[in-house]
Each structure stands twice: as structure tokens, then as C-alpha cells.
């Protein structure tokens, strides 16, 4: 049995391990959401956030690109009203809007034979159709992160592409290597799914993350 951390907790775990995540506030009222938005600077994103809340897009639990106080207030109330019967501890996660034209997925899985493995895949709307995914066994050695990026069939998309700069390899390598290190050092972490990891220009930014723990490990 596994237990899924909330997006807020998942990102905290990543941040503690050394993967930079954008500033985030977890609030439980529309008034606090407005204060948080002012703190973080507009535009902001609101998401309903709680343990076990996945498929946020499918459940319509994300409000993107909110530009002003009124909008934030209305949408925060709306989201809180959408909490299910066993989601009463869920709050509203307020973050700045992450924008970029390219998305990847990065993660950690545990293979029954090879143990913790880092995953990298193309994200975005065609991700499922392209199924462009590659793995590397943790820990990642000197060339492994770079090779993992190059192992994608469409690695070209992460290079200089249609007016976009090449992905910052050092930053992406660091994220991949850190995922591998979490896999080795934190056995209670079953899996990590950073989806999407948005490229803001050349910089990979964690826009959403889900961490699964062994049940009882938290």
C-alpha cells in the first residue's frame, strides 16, 4: 500500500532534497488566498491541494493565470466548495504562474530488479502518443544524466528549437541526479512524478509534483 502526498508536501520534499521549486502557499480561506497572491505577485495559479488529490486537470481543480484580487477570491471559494466528502482537510495551493512552451516529465520509480531508477520523458499534449521515455539506474554517474537526456528519441526538442533556447543542462542534470539520490537515501519514497517540468526558456521549473510513500512511512 502506498500513500500519496499532497502537491504542497511533495514539493516540500523535493525542496528539502535540493530541487528548487517555485514559491507556494497553502491556504484554507479565500481571504488568505488573496493575501498569498499579493505576496507572490500576479498572475497566480490556484489548485485544490490535499493528500490523495490527483487528476486535478480532469477534475477541474486548477485555475490558471488569475490576474487580480477578485478573481482569486471567487475562484478560491469555488475550489474549496469542490472538496469531496473525505477531502475536508484540503486547502488551496497558491503559486506563481509558470509559463513555457516545452514540458517534460521527470520522476523516480522502483524497479523490482534494478531498484531506484530515474525517469525522463517528453511531456505536453502529445506525451502519451509519443511515449518518449528513458530511464537510468540510480545513482546517476558523471555522464548518466546527460546521456539520459540524449536517450530521448526527440531530445532535439530540448535543444535550440523554434526560437527556444537549449535547456540548461546543468539544472536539468541536477534535478535528475537529485531524484536518483532521493531514491537511494529515502527508501520510504515509492515514486516521484514531476509532471509537468516546464521549461521557462532554458530553465526547468517544477510546475506540479506527486510523491508516493510507503503506507505508514509519513
Amino acid at each position: 500500500m502506498t500513500q500519496t502526498l499532497s502537491e504542497f508536501e511533495s514539493k516540500q520534499l523535493l525542496a528539502e532534497a535540493g530541487i528548487a521549486v517555485p514559491a507556494q502557499r497553502l491556504v484554507f480561506s479565500a481571504e488568505d488566498a488573496v493575501r498569498a497572491a499579493e505576496d507572490l505577485c500576479y498572475p497566480v495559479v490556484l489548485k485544490l491541494c490535499g493528500r490523495g488529490i490527483a487528476h486535478k486537470t480532469e477534475r477541474d481543480l486548477i485555475r490558471l493565470e488569475l490576474l487580480e484580487e477578485d478573481e482569486v477570491h471567487i475562484q478560491a471559494e469555488e475550489l474549496l466548495a469542490r472538496r469531496g466528502p473525505d477531502e475536508s482537510d484540503a486547502g488551496v495551493l497558491v503559486t506563481t504562474m509558470i509559463q513555457g512552451r516545452r514540458e517534460v516529465i521527470a520522476g523516480l520509480v522502483r524497479d523490482p530488479q534494478f531498484g531506484p531508477c530515474v525517469m525522463l520523458g517528453l511531456g505536453g499534449v502529445f506525451a502519451e502518443a509519443l511515449e518518449d521515455v528513458a530511464y537510468a539506474v540510480a545513482p546517476l554517474g558523471a555522464f548518466d544524466a546527460d546521456d539520459l537526456i540524449d536517450a530521448l528519441e526527440h531530445a532535439r526538442i530540448l535543444g535550440r528549437f523554434r526560437g527556444e533556447p537549449e535547456v540548461d543542462r546543468a539544472q536539468l542534470d541536477h534535478i535528475l541526479e537529485t531524484l536518483g539520490r532521493i531514491g537511494l537515501e529515502q527508501p520510504q519514497v515509492r515514486s516521484i512524478d514531476i509532471n509537468p517540468l516546464i521549461l521557462m526558456g532554458s530553465r526547468p521549473v517544477v510546475a506540479d509534483a506527486l510523491v508516493e510513500l510507503e503506507a505508514g512511512a509519513s
Partner: protein, 499 residues
């Protein structure tokens, strides 16, 4: 490392073999193995055990393991039924046996009860200080002792490849290719059920074994992935490791789990393992063998800069396509090389890469061009297409109604001599300049019946002749990748040393 060499020494270098279950019926495993050991001239002492002490192949046998002089055999090869093998193992231990290869079936592959027998066999072996290979394995080959301890035939010529397979039959296929193309094997072993020794143990042995220059493995799944990765890494840091993975699709995986019993590996994760451990991965049996043979007999390319040399157009076009698709760098023909070739053949030649002489060559052109290409500093590797055409026409002359008259006899001799010479020239230029030259021609297969002098010449030079440009490109692509792996590893080690 020498620990593994010592532990498995009796498996590959036994001074004497106790062979149990040697039936007088020549269809039984024990009798077949006895035959193969004698037939291929095993150099150590053989102690065939037959319950009745009956003559087998006209030779005497022993009634029991206890009759074997103490200390005269260090390997046991068990073909007796699983039910008596524990007793056999105890007696073998008393005789001084240190390793037992168990060919007998009826173990883990045969269900719950067999699984229990297998666990007991391993427990007993540990107690007796014996190492178990198998059970349910096909056998062992070790050519430096002329040892073919196998329940199935292929006995390859001696050579630098060592092989381990999780399927006896795929192992046999690898060795059959060795018989066919003459780049031979040092050792071969089938894992069987891997009750104790598993694929990684054999690879660790091959990595340390001075007679092994390249290892070849067929794998459906690994028990301990992290140990496998560690062993594979250490292997690749010293010598190439070629792996053919079975069960890469869902249906193949299901077949593999019923075959090997081990959980088959996730294909995408295995692809990562290959990348990280410098494993040269092949897609098919023939590709796997050819790749191992290429590593065994060709110098490693320093980089991807490739020239394609052909005596006719179409082959060059297809091979150029294949080079590009495989990520090889099809370089522009260096100007000085173009000028040199301009002086040798009529102007209709391609004047680019592929170098297509368009039939303009004379007696010495091909060896000279091969030498100049190999000598050029901007060239890392060469694929040479079309060997054997002249000898093929020679065969048409020879088998027709006009031979040997009308000057045909002399012409045939010339053609055959030329093709043999081209093969040797390719090998010599390759050795002289330490660059791979891969020779490809479909005549390897199509003209096997009479033995075309071109491919036969390649074989005589100790190398594999590839049956198509594509197959040569597959091998070269993986050689370039492995070479890069080694270069990066070495530069990283130098960096560490400097710091």
C-alpha cells in the same frame, strides 16, 4: 577478481570430469555428453559412471562415483535423475569435486516439488563446499582443453569470444555462427535454472579471464539487477560485453517468465542499464554474434568518421543510408584522397563518399585504395562492399561448357586470386593502421555451396565477412559507441588522477 577465477576454475579447466548417468543408450543425455567429450578430444581424465558398469561406445565405465580415484576429478557433470543427485553429489565431494554442472531436469522448471529438490541440492552443495552450475543446463565448452561437455552438439573453433546464455539453444546458435564463420570461442556455458551460479557470476569470470577478449550473453531476466549492473560496468571497463535481451515485448516477456522463471526485465530500464554500463546491445542472434566477432577481431574505431568503399553503386547507396541512420559520420571525401584515387582510375568514379570505383579498377587498385583510405588521418573506419564478384564470375566460367578452354582457366585463377588478395589487403591495412575495415558481401551466403574466394579470404584472415552493408553498419555503430564509452571513462579517470 582472481577469487572468481579460482572458484570457477574447475568448470572451465577441469583436470578430470566425473560424468554420471552415462547410459548405454546413445539417445540419453549422459551418453551424448560422453560421446561429445570423447569425440572432440577432451584433454583431461574422464570417469564415466554407468550403474551396471556396461561398456559405452566400446569403452569401460565405472559402476559408482566411489570407484573414482580420490583427487583425480574436480568437476562433476550430472546427467542422473534428480532423485539420485544428492547422493551423487556427496560421493563426488568425497572424490574431490569442487564444481558440479547439473544437466538433469526435474528441478525448478518442473514445478513446486522440483523447486524444493533444487533448494535442497544447493543447500547440500554449500554444505559440501561444491559450487552448482545449472540444473537443467545444456553444458560447458572450453576450447583450450578441447572440452565439449554438452548434451547438444555445437563445438566451435577456439577463439577469443566467451559466451553465457540463459537458453541452451540460443547459446548453441551463437556457437553455430562460430562454426560457420570461424571466429571462435574460448568458453561457453548455459545457465540452466541458475540455482546458484547466475549469469553475472559467469560474466565476472569472463571479465577476469585472460583468454576472453569479448563476452557474449543471452539474457531474459536478472535476479539481482544492481549486482548485474556492477559486474557489467566492471566488465565493460576492460573488454566489450555484447548482450541479446529476450522478452522485450509483453508477449515475449510472458514467454520468458515461463521459460527462465526469472522476472523479465523492463525493456526501457534495461536500455538505460546498457547505456550506463557500456553494454553493446544486439537485436538478433546473428547481430549479437557478428558484433562479438567484430570486437574480437577488429581494432576499435577511434571515432565515427566512416568511409564506404564499393565496387558497385547500389550497395554504396544503401550502406550510406544505413550509416547515417546509425549515427555514423559519413565524411566528405578528403581532397588529398580524391586526388590520389583520381590518378588510379578513370574519371567516371564517384569522387565522393561512398567511394564507388564504377568498375574502373585495374589489377592493384583495390588493395592500394584500401591502404590509402586506412592511412588517412581523417578516417576512423571503413566498410568495404562487394568482395567476391570476380570469383563469382569465375565460378560461372568454371561450371559452364567452355571451361577450361578459350583462356577461361587462366581467367578463373586470376579472379579467385584477386578476391582472396582483396580480403587479405583489407585485413592487413586494418591491422597496420589499427582501424576497423568491415568487409560485406551477400556472397557470404549465396556462394557458400562452392566457396567463393572473396568471403573465404575474409574467413582466412580471421575475420567475419558480413552478409550485407546493413549488418556491417550495425556492428560498426555499436563499436563506435563502445569506443566512446571507453574514451569517456578513461578521460574521467585521468581527471580524477590529476585532481
Amino acid at each position: 577478481m582472481s577469487e572468481i577465477l579460482e572458484r570457477l576454475r574447475p568448470l572451465f579447466y577441469p583436470k578430470g570430469i566425473i560424468l554420471t548417468g552415462v547410459s548405454s543408450h546413445p539417445g540419453k543425455f549422459g551418453a551424448v555428453t560422453y560421446h561429445n567429450l570423447v569425440r572432440f578430444g577432451y584433454e583431461g581424465a574422464l570417469y564415466p559412471i554407468n550403474r551396471d558398469g556396461a561398456e559405452v561406445l566400446g569403452r569401460p565405465t565405472l559402476r559408482a562415483v566411489s570407484e573414482v580415484p580420490e583427487g583425480s576429478a574436480d568437476l562433476a557433470f550430472l546427467c542422473t535423475p534428480a532423485s539420485v543427485n544428492e547422493e551423487m553429489l556427496r560421493e563426488c565431494a568425497r572424490a574431490g569435486v569442487r564444481v558440479a554442472f547439473v544437466a538433469s531436469g526435474g528441478y525448478g522448471e518442473a514445478g513446486e516439488e522440483g523447486g524444493e529438490l533444487e533448494r535442497r541440492l544447493v543447500a547440500l552443495a554449500k554444505e559440501l563446499g561444491i559450487v552448482i552450475a545449472g540444473p537443467n543446463g545444456q553444458g560447458i565448452v572450453s576450447t583450450s582443453l578441447s572440452m565439449c561437455a554438452q548434451i547438444a552438439p555445437p563445438y566451435p573453433p577456439p577463439g577469443p569470444i566467451s559466451m553465457v546464455s540463459q537458453s541452451g539453444n540460443i547459446g548453441a546458435s551463437f556457437m553455430n555462427y562460430g562454426v560457420l564463420s570461424n571466429v571462435g570461442f574460448s568458453k561457453g556455458v548455459s545457465c540452466g535454472n541458475s540455482a546458484q551460479l547466475e549469469l553475472a557470476d559467469y560474466l565476472e569470470y569472463f571479465a577476469a579471464d585472460p583468454e576472453t577478449r569479448v563476452s557474449l550473453a543471452y539474457l531474459e531476466g536478472v535476479e539481482d539487477g544492481r549486482r548485474f549492473l556492477e559486474v557489467a560496468r566492471a566488465h565493460s571497463a576492460q573488454k566489450p560485453l555484447v548482450i541479446l535481451l529476450g522478452g522485450v515485448t509483453e508477449r515475449g516477456r510472458r514467454a520468458a517468465s515461463s521459460h527462465t522463471g526469472a522476472l523479465a526485465s523492463n525493456e526501457r530500464i534495461f536500455a538505460g542499464v546498457c547505456r550506463q554500463a557500456g553494454i553493446a546491445r544486439a537485436e538478433t542472434v546473428e547481430e549479437a554474434y557478428e558484433l562479438a566477432a567484430s570486437f574480437a577481431r577488429q581494432p576499435l574505431p577511434h571515432g565515427p568518421r566512416t568511409l564506404v568503399f564499393t565496387v558497385a553503386g547500389g550497395w554504396g547507396v544503401l550502406t550510406a543510408d544505413a550509416c547515417v541512420q546509425a549515427g555514423l559520420e559519413l565524411i566528405s571525401l578528403p581532397a588529398d584522397l580524391r586526388e590520389q584515387i583520381d590518378k588510379m582510375v578513370p574519371a567516371r568514379w564517384s569522387r565522393g563518399n561512398p567511394i564507388d570505383l564504377a568498375g574502373g579498377e585495374t589489377r592493384d587498385t583495390i588493395p592500394e585504395v584500401l591502404e590509402q583510405m586506412a592511412a588517412h588521418p581523417d578516417v576512423d573506419a571503413i566498410i568495404y562492399l562487394g568482395i567476391g564478384i570476380q570469383a563469382a564470375q569465375g565460378q560461372a566460367f568454371k561450371s559452364g561448357p567452355f571451361y577450361p578452354d578459350h583462356g577461361l582457366e587462366r581467367m578463373v585463377e586470376f579472379h579467385e586470386r584477386q578476391d582472396r588478395r582483396y580480403a587479405l589487403a583489407a585485413a592487413e591495412a586494418s591491422e597496420r593502421h589499427r582501424k576497423p575495415i568491415l568487409v560485406a558481401s551477400d556472397l557470404v551466403h549465396t556462394d557458400r555451396a562452392y566457396g567463393n574466394a572473396g568471403p573465404l579470404g575474409v574467413k582466412a584472415s580471421g575475420r567475419v565477412a558480413y552478409p550485407s552493408g546493413h549488418r556491417a553498419v550495425r556492428a560498426l555503430g555499436q563499436m563506435v559507441r563502445y569506443s566512446r564509452y571507453r574514451q569517456r571513462l578513461e578521460s574521467a579517470q585521468e581527471d580524477t588522477a590529476i585532481r
